[in-house]
Every structure is written in C-alpha cells, then in structure tokens.
C-alpha cells in the first residue's frame, strides 16, 4: 500500500475501531448500540437544529484543532489550546463588556475578536519563548500554562468580574454579538451556530495556502522537519517556533470568540468544558492538515453533540469513557500509521 492510501486508510480504520469499541461499551452498559447510534445520528444530522449544534461545536473544534496543528508543522506539540481558549474567552468577554454601546457592530466584533486572538496568541507565545530562550519543553510549558490560565481566569472571575451570585461576567454589548445563522438567514433554527463558522472555513483555507503554498510555509515546515538543515539553509528556526505558536494561540482565541461572541455572550466558569483538549485529537486525526481538519472536526462535533442527546439512555460517565476511548484509539492508530509509513 502506498503512503497516500495509508493516510486515508489509517484514520478510517481508527474511526471504525472506535465505533466498534464504543458499541461494546454500550452493550456492556445494557443498551442496544445500534439504537443508540441511530438516536445519535437522528439527533445530530436529522434536524436543522441538530446540524446547527454540530456546526457550532465543529467551528470551535476546527479552531482549537488548528491551534494544535500549526505548531505541529514545526514539530511542536501544543497541549495548551485549552488555556489559550480560556484566556481568549476571557479577553473577548471583557472587551465586549467594556466597549461603548454606540460602537458600530462590525468594529465592535472586530475589536473583540482581535483581543481574543491576541490573548490566545500571547499565552501560546509564552511557551514559545520559554522553548527558544531556555529550552523548556513546550509540552510541559503549555500544560503548566493551562493551569495558570485556569487560575487567572478563575480568580479574575470570582474576585473581580462575576455578577454577584452568578458564575459569569457581565453581558457583552449587543453590537459585539456575532449573529447566528438563524438570525441572519433563518437557517439552522435556534441553534448557536453563528457566522464565525464562515470565518473559520476562510481561515482554514488561508492557513492551508500559507503552510503548503507560500515561502513562509516552505521555511516553516523545513524548520520543523530538520531544524539543523534549516539553519544551514539560512532559515531562522527560532522565529518559526515563535510564529507558529503565535498563530496557534490566535486560532484558539478565535475559537473562544465563537463561543463567547456567537453563543454565550459572556464569560462563564467552565464554559470551555475541555474542548481545547479534544482539539489535540482533531488535529492528530487530520494529520495536522488544515483542510482535513474540517472533516475530523465534523466527526468530533457529531460525537460531542450526539453524546449529549443520548444522555437519557447512556449515563454521562459512560459517554465520557467512549469519547476518551475514541480519542485514544485515533491517536494510537495515527501513530501506528506514521510508523508503517
């Protein structure tokens, strides 16, 4: 089998085996897996609301997936999408709440998105600087930065910005809200899917061009594949470490904008629900390719939302097991595929 077939075959195989294992777990919990899968399929893709929910989750997943995938092109493993997401979300909510209500919508949205991306990028850049300057392994740095981000946002929320007796910040100004598809076009009724999904597809395309069709990407991938050779070729590998982390963090920030500006309209404790970690699986399943990422995010989006809808039949704990198992299988099989290649 040539390597091209393998690249498609391995993710498919990992998905199928994940389904099989899930079916086994569901059977063990005393339910009929076929019925559960049917219900999931129906709830996710059977209605426009369900599709909207999947699109909304998929959008965040694409962005946190990119947050992992872009640094991965330079062989950096960004485990910190969750922390970058948190910082971005907090920044978006704060900016949105502080902007004057008179600001035109486009400007208000742009400012909020910008602040979310900047916050995410800075948070990721910290790990990049630690790596370049002191040689700190980026995996350790980003994990630690996740904890710190949790601490900072938690502290700021409870001690300074939470509306009394709630766990969320003040609402953002109406002009900073990204319209939902429902309100803008009437599609995907009542679902949180919003126009940032379009932006996301555009960004994924843009990054695909940047990585695979620009001189910048040529240098960046070279720096990832063979850093010493890159140095001989006059490429500044350290610069690429920093920029890739920056771009990754900015993507996580954009993902936060989707949640805060498009759906919640404020920052709430625990609102990300660990979706930043799912981004790792999304990126690995897609082989860190910006366009395949759309597909793998779609799959994980279905799984995330589908899992919620079958809550009445399958306890949440069982579903957590299934989701984690799926991610593990996907990662293991992708790694195996790399080795075979």
């Amino acid at each position: 089998m040539n390597s091209k077939n393998l690249r498609i075959f391995v993710p498919l195989l990992s998905l199928l085996s994940a389904l099989a294992v899930s079916a086994l777990v569901i059977t063990l919990s005393g339910r009929d897996p076929l019925m559960i899968f049917q219900k999931m399929l129906h709830a996710t893709l059977g209605s426009s609301y369900g599709v909207g929910q999947v699109v909304f989750r998929m959008t965040t997943l694409v962005l946190v997936g990119l947050a992992v995938a872009i640094p991965f092109q330079v062989r950096l493993f960004n485990i910190g999408a969750e922390g970058q997401l948190l910082m971005g979300a907090f920044a978006a909510a704060m900016t949105g709440a502080m902007l004057p209500a008179s600001l035109p919508s486009l400007l208000a949205i742009s400012l909020c998105i910008l602040s979310a991306m900047t916050a995410g990028a800075c948070w990721a850049l910290l790990a990049g600087v630690l790596k370049v300057r002191f040689g700190v392994n980026e995996v350790i740095a980003t994990i630690m930065l996740n904890f710190i981000a949790q601490g900072i946002t938690g502290y700021l929320l409870t001690w300074h910005f939470a509306i009394p007796s709630t766990v969320h910040t003040a609402r953002i100004t109406d002009n900073a809200i990204i319209p939902t598809f429902d309100s803008a076009t009437g599609w995907l009724t009542n679902s949180p899917a919003n126009l940032s999904s379009l932006l996301t597809v555009g960004v994924a395309l843009l990054l695909w061009v940047l990585i695979f069709h620009s001189r910048f990407g040529y240098e960046m991938r070279a720096a990832g594949l063979q850093p010493v050779a890159a140095q001989y070729g006059g490429i500044n590998a350290e610069m690429h470490t920093l920029t890739s982390m920056c771009i990754g963090g900015a993507m996580a920030g954009l993902g936060a904008a989707n949640i805060v500006l498009g759906y919640k309209h404020y920052y709430e404790s625990g609102m990300t629900g660990g979706i930043g970690f799912t981004g790792i699986a999304v990126a690995l399943l897609a082989g860190a390719h910006p366009l395949w990422l759309l597909l793998s995010a779609f799959f994980f989006g279905c799984l995330e939302y589908g899992g919620l809808t079958v809550n009445a039949w399958i306890p949440k704990d069982i579903f957590m097991i299934i989701e984690a198992l799926t991610i593990l299988l996907v990662i293991s099989f992708s790694a195996l595929g790399k080795r075979v290649e």
Partner: protein, 513 residues
C-alpha cells in the same frame, strides 16, 4: 576447509521491491570474503539476513553445515556470528572490560561481575590478534581506532567464528587502517571467517581473499581477489566502464578569493580546535584540505558558514574578497558569494521529506527569481529543476512529487551540488566530503562537475577524509593537523606527485598524523 556460510537462492523483498534476489553464495571458513557494491546494491540487506536482523523471503541459509532460520541477532550470535557495525555499539561511560562482557555477564542479575577472569581473556586475545587496548580505560577516552578494537574483542569474547565488518575503515586514519588489516589477517590465520563489506576497492584488493560483487540485489560475480584488478571490479559494480580518476588539467589560478589569517577557534569549554590556521585560495583553483577527521575541519567549516556553536571564541581573519566572513549569518554569507555543501548531507543540506524540486530550492528559496506572490513561481522552478536534473544526471522519476529520501545517496548529493554550484554570483565554493556515501558511478559525475566549476574560475575549498579524492581533484593541498595547516604542497608538487598516487598518499599520511 569447510564452508562457513552457504546461501542458496536467498531472496528478500520489501513490498514489491526486491532488495536481494536469488542470491547463492558460499563463504569458505578461514577466509576474508569481501562484499562490494554500490549503495543500494543489497549488501546491507544480505548481511542483515546473515546476522538475523532480516528473515529471507525465500531461500536457505546454512551456517557451518546447519540450516538456520534466525529470528533475531541473538540467534545469530548464538550460532557464532558477530558483527562490527559502522557505528559502534559501545557505552562510553563504561570501561573497556565492562563493555566487552556487557550482555554476556555469565552471572546472576545481582551478582558481582567476573571482571578479573574477563580481563585475563581480553588481554590474551588482544595479544594474540594485535588489538592493544587497556581493559580498564573508559571507552569515552579511546580513539576511534581503539574503540573498533574493543568491538572486535567483544566478538572474540563471545567466541564468534564468523565476523562481519561493515565499512570498518570509513572512520580510520591510514595507519589505523593498516593496523586493522593486520588484525583481519591474523583473525583469518587463526581460522576465523571474516566478511568485509566495503566500497573501497583498494582495500578489497589489499586484504581480501575472495570478492563478491553485488549489483541491483544480485551477486554479479565471485572472484579470487588476486585475479582481479580495480577497474574490473568497478566495471562489475557499476555495469559499465568507469573513470576512476577524473582528468585534472593544469589550473591557472587568478586573484586571491579567500584569505584566512591566523584563525583561532576555542570551544565554549576552552578547547582549542583551530590554532593560527592560515591559508589562501585563489580563483580557479581547488585547495584540498587533507586530514584525519577531528583535526579542526568541522570547526573551520562552521566558522566559514556562520554556524559556530554559541559560546565558541573565534579570533583572526577570514576574508572573502576583502570582506570579513566572521560573525555573519548563513543567509548573509550566501549573499556575499559563498556556497557550501556541508559534511553531513542528510542532517544539514537537505530535507528528506521534501520533493527533489523543493530540495533543489532549499537555501536558495530567498532568490527573487523563484518568487511569485507569497509563493513560488512554479514555471521558473520547473525549468530550473529540469535543467539541473539533466545537467547533473540526477536519476529520478518525478521531481515534483518524489521525496528526496527515495533517491540513492549519490543522486541526493548531485541534488545538493547542482543547487550549490549554480548559485548566482558565487566566487567561493566549499565542498565538504562531496563523495561520502556516493557510488563510484556518481562520483565520476560529481568530480567532473567540480573540475568544471574550477575551470569556470571559482575558488574551491575541498575538505575530504579520502586522500584519493583530495589528490585527484586538488590544485594545492594543505595537511591539517590539530587545528593548523602543518604542511602545504604547491601546485607543481601536487601535479608531479599525483602520478605516483600511492607514494603521495603515504607522504600526506605522514603530515596528518
């Protein structure tokens, strides 16, 4: 004498690729049997089959009369087969004796090591085979030649009767090589069977009893070494006649291009690697630096290409047409008109995963001629790629799709040379080990291109550990020893002495050790 190893119609395929096909070979006990062939001819696959690292797809392996099927090298070691790898398998932090008994301790897990009896045996063996080495010394403190002796002692300790040597002389100085040959002969005289894998034909003729030549996964011939000449062997290997030494017409050097004056290099640990190194290279000449690896060549190359490790202290002068090269970055140095093919091609000069076309661009991707928008101009690149491929005879199928890793070492090197020789506006070309890991056939092309570049008026600095290559190409030769040029042969001397190559090699050998 019996037959140590008999292979009958052994084949090994990887997917659809036949690395070895229908190999039948008998290796007699108590002989030195050389296995030669170009890179990718299947030598290493064959030895891996004998050593149990690969299992044959079909065919039979008979070791000392017994049909075997090794599952792993452990089985092969048990059957009395040992191998000295090109990269030594030693633990630098342990002593010689500890390394030798490693994996063969003959004691229970927590018992004390039988070092005393082991040492006695090691001393006995080292006397018998001329393998002088102190059993108490730390391996880290040994020279490469001594480390190789430890590897051989390891095999003797395990009572191996068949010993495989994979390119054993690649890392040795000329005198160490001579010494290794003495050892190989004494091993043979005491009934051991030696299998020597090499691509250096002179060595084969000097030490082997029998030679098997491989080409494209097959044995094309097995002949007694005494009945064959070097050109004949080369022809068997490549399948056509090859020019073993490129014609090197007299040079008429022009103005000085590179001027290195009292260059010193101290590592961050304070070790002096270059000591007042002084040399000049003129336009239209090749200055060959001959020397044993580790005498400052790497540091000189790093300094000239702006990649000296952080913390190293450099003083003195290195000027390209009057402009200093020191403390500049590779990209700036390239712009000044210097081109460089690094010693370690795989690590420094190419991106194996990139396609051939992308690699032809690597390091030159900043040249505006290749640009279009934020990306590259595919049209220009295509015509550039095609020109390079036909000019340098790069053997490939689809340069835009094929990753560089799918090429043989020789073709990879041609890609690097094609790219570096054609940089616009270069006046100095630095070539480090241009023929390392390259087939005889490809060496011919590469050497011709180097001479052509010299004729076109480039100044060329050639660093090579192969004296043959230095002598064949250089206009002048500098012998480097412990960080300075110890002796320089003038243009007249070189062209005169080139005719008596063997004598010349010996003379150079005196200046570099």
């Amino acid at each position: 004498m019996g037959i140590a190893i008999r292979l009958s119609v052994v084949s090994k395929t990887f997917g659809s690729f036949a690395a070895n096909s229908n190999i039948s070979l008998s290796i007699e006990e108590g002989t030195i049997h050389a296995l030669v062939g170009e890179n990718g001819a299947g030598k290493s696959t064959l030895t891996k089959i004998i050593y149990g690292m690969h299992q044959p797809t079909s065919g039979e392996v008979v070791i000392q009369g017994k049909a075997v099927r090794f599952a792993s090298p452990r089985d092969a070691i048990e059957a009395g087969i040992g191998m000295v790898h090109q990269h030594f398998m030693l633990v630098p932090e342990l002593s010689v004796a500890e390394n030798i008994i490693l994996g063969h301790e003959q004691t229970w897990l927590f018992g004390s090591l039988p070092l005393k009896s082991a040492k006695a045996l090691i001393l006995k063996n080292s006397e018998a085979y001329g393998l002088a080495v102190n059993p108490d010394a730390l391996v880290a403190s040994l020279s490469i030649g001594e480390q190789q002796r430890v590897e051989i002692l390891k095999l003797l300790f395990r009572k191996a009767s068949i010993m495989i040597f994979d390119e054993p002389t690649a890392v040795l100085t000329p005198s160490e090589t001579e010494r290794l040959f003495v050892t190989l002969r004494s091993l043979r005289n005491r009934g051991k069977t030696v299998i020597l894998i090499t691509h250096k034909l002179d060595e084969v003729l000097a030490v082997a009893d029998t030679v098997s030549v491989m080409r494209k996964g097959e044995i094309v011939g097995t002949v007694p070494a005494s009945s064959v000449t070097k050109p004949e062997l080369a022809r068997m290997m490549v399948g056509r006649s090859v020019l073993l030494r490129v014609t090197n017409p007299p040079a008429s050097p022009g103005e000085t291009i590179l001027n290195i004056n009292r260059l010193r290099f101290c590592t961050s640990q304070g070790e002096e690697r270059l000591r007042d190194l002084t040399l000049k290279i003129r336009a239209g000449e090749i200055y060959g630096i001959a020397g044993v690896e580790g005498n400052g060549q790497s540091e000189l190359l790093q300094t000239l290409w702006g990649l000296a490790p952080e913390g190293s202290v450099i003083s003195g002068e290195a000027k390209l047409k009057g402009q200093s090269l020191l403390r500049k970055k590779p990209a700036e140095i390239a712009l000044m008109g210097l081109s460089h093919t690094p010693e370690n091609r795989l690590r420094h000069a190419v991106i194996l995963e990139y396609t051939i076309a992308e690699n032809l661009l690597f390091g030159r991707h900043r040249e505006a001629a290749f640009h279009q928008g934020i990306g590259f101009n595919s049209h220009t690149i295509k015509s550039y790629t095609n020109t390079m491929i036909s000019d340098f005879d790069i053997r490939c199928i689809s340069p835009e799709r094929q990753p560089l890793s799918s090429l043989s070492g020789g073709n990879q090197q041609k890609v690097v040379l094609a790219r570096e020789l054609n940089r616009p506006g270069i006046s100095l070309l630095i070539l480090a080990q241009p023929a390392r890991g390259v087939d005889i056939g490809a060496i011919e092309t590469i050497h011709k291109k180097i001479i052509e570049a010299r004729k076109s008026g480039m100044a060329i600095l050639l660093v090579s550990s192969e004296l043959e290559e230095i002598i064949a190409l250089s206009t002048r030769i500098g012998c480097i020893y412990k960080g300075s040029i110890r002796h320089e042969f003038s243009q007249e001397e070189v062209s005169l002495k080139r005719e008596a190559e063997h004598e010349f090699e010996k003379e150079i050998g005196l200046h570099i050790t």
